[in-house]
Symmetry: C2
Subunit: 204 residues, 2 copies
């Protein structure tokens, strides 16, 4: 019974990028397993009356966010380049990440997508960009894309988004523990891991 | 030339409470001076179309905030009791904090107010509560209240709020450094102090 956290992320989210690029190493150091759970923030934002990201709705918040992630990325040695369109359309990437589950490629594929979106500023709604990400993790682009178009993959992404909302999630990244605690934001990753270890003490 | 940060806080803000109760010790350990700057979030929220706190406008965010500060307060051994009305009316407290400046009592008075508001759940718009806070820091309640009613104190609070907005501040607590960097949130206090030390290396 290893402690586990669920990592809820959205491919259009800058702070999800920060977490995606470090969660595997950080959690491994704490001996905590991570379940990668892509979801869509759009429907959740819409439910609270937002038609776009709060970083667009509130320009002061948006300007701050950019500077904040610049400082954090620099401190972590992480490349940072914002895509021309923010927030990007993350639907295809999220479906592909779910379709990559049977290959055990959800995490590495997701890292590729985040690196393309925020490390290189690419538009990850473009098929060519996603194809490169699939190839980089050894997934067959045509087969994975076909799988991503299946009704059960679409339903799984909707289920992730519904589950996020049911957990009280309102932003990304978020982390949940086996006892139902919710942590929001890249800056809460450490607290989430510590909580997970308390919640599920390892049997050995 | 000791490094300095400006601590921008709002008496109705729960996360400002978290920072107010630790910033003196934390900054002293880093050998950084702190300028305490009370301001009002109300006009800033109003300017971006909010009539109340985002924690009220977005219930999921509000529920999360409570749980988040419960966990943090518990970890820090800090009492936590939410006042019946949130956000409270912080105008009187903010004016008194400014009126207490000539006495050198802004910081200790502010800690008293925060402790009353969020440590004991009291309504800090009540004169009796504020009187206790003034007495606790050795300030004469009548004299300080008279000073707080002077036009220059009212103008100073408006100036703090205008300056906060000009700095791009959109929430509390916020921290600014001598080279103009802005940090938002209790969880960025450490980063703000580290930045302040880089920005103004101590001459000795």
């Amino acid at each position: 019974m290893k402690p586990t956290i669920v990592f809820w992320y959205e491919f259009a989210s800058t702070y999800s990028y920060l977490s995606a690029m470090r969660i595997a190493d950080t959690a491994a150091r704490e001996d905590v397993d991570v379940i990668w759970k892509p979801f869509l923030l759009g429907p959740i934002f819409k439910a609270q009356g937002w038609e776009t990201s709060p970083f667009n709705l509130y320009p002061a918040k948006g300007r701050y966010m950019i500077r904040d992630i610049e400082r954090i990325a620099a401190a972590r040695g992480l490349p940072l380049r914002m895509p021309a369109t923010f927030p990007g359309n993350s639907l295809k990437a999220a479906r592909l990440a779910i379709a990559a589950e049977p290959l055990g490629a959800t995490a590495p594929f997701s890292r590729e997508v985040f690196a393309a979106a925020f490390g290189r500023g690419l538009d990850v709604s473009e098929d060519a960009v996603l194809t490169e990400c699939l190839i980089a993790v050894g997934a067959d682009p045509d087969a994975t894309r076909a799988a991503a178009a299946e009704p059960q993959v679409k339903a799984a992404l909707r289920a992730n988004t519904d589950a996020a909302q049911a957990h009280g999630i309102f932003g990304a990244p978020s982390f949940t523990t086996s006892d139902g605690e919710l942590f929001w934001g890249d800056d809460r990753l450490g607290a989430a891991l510590a909580w997970a270890k308390k919640a599920a003490p390892r049997k050995s």
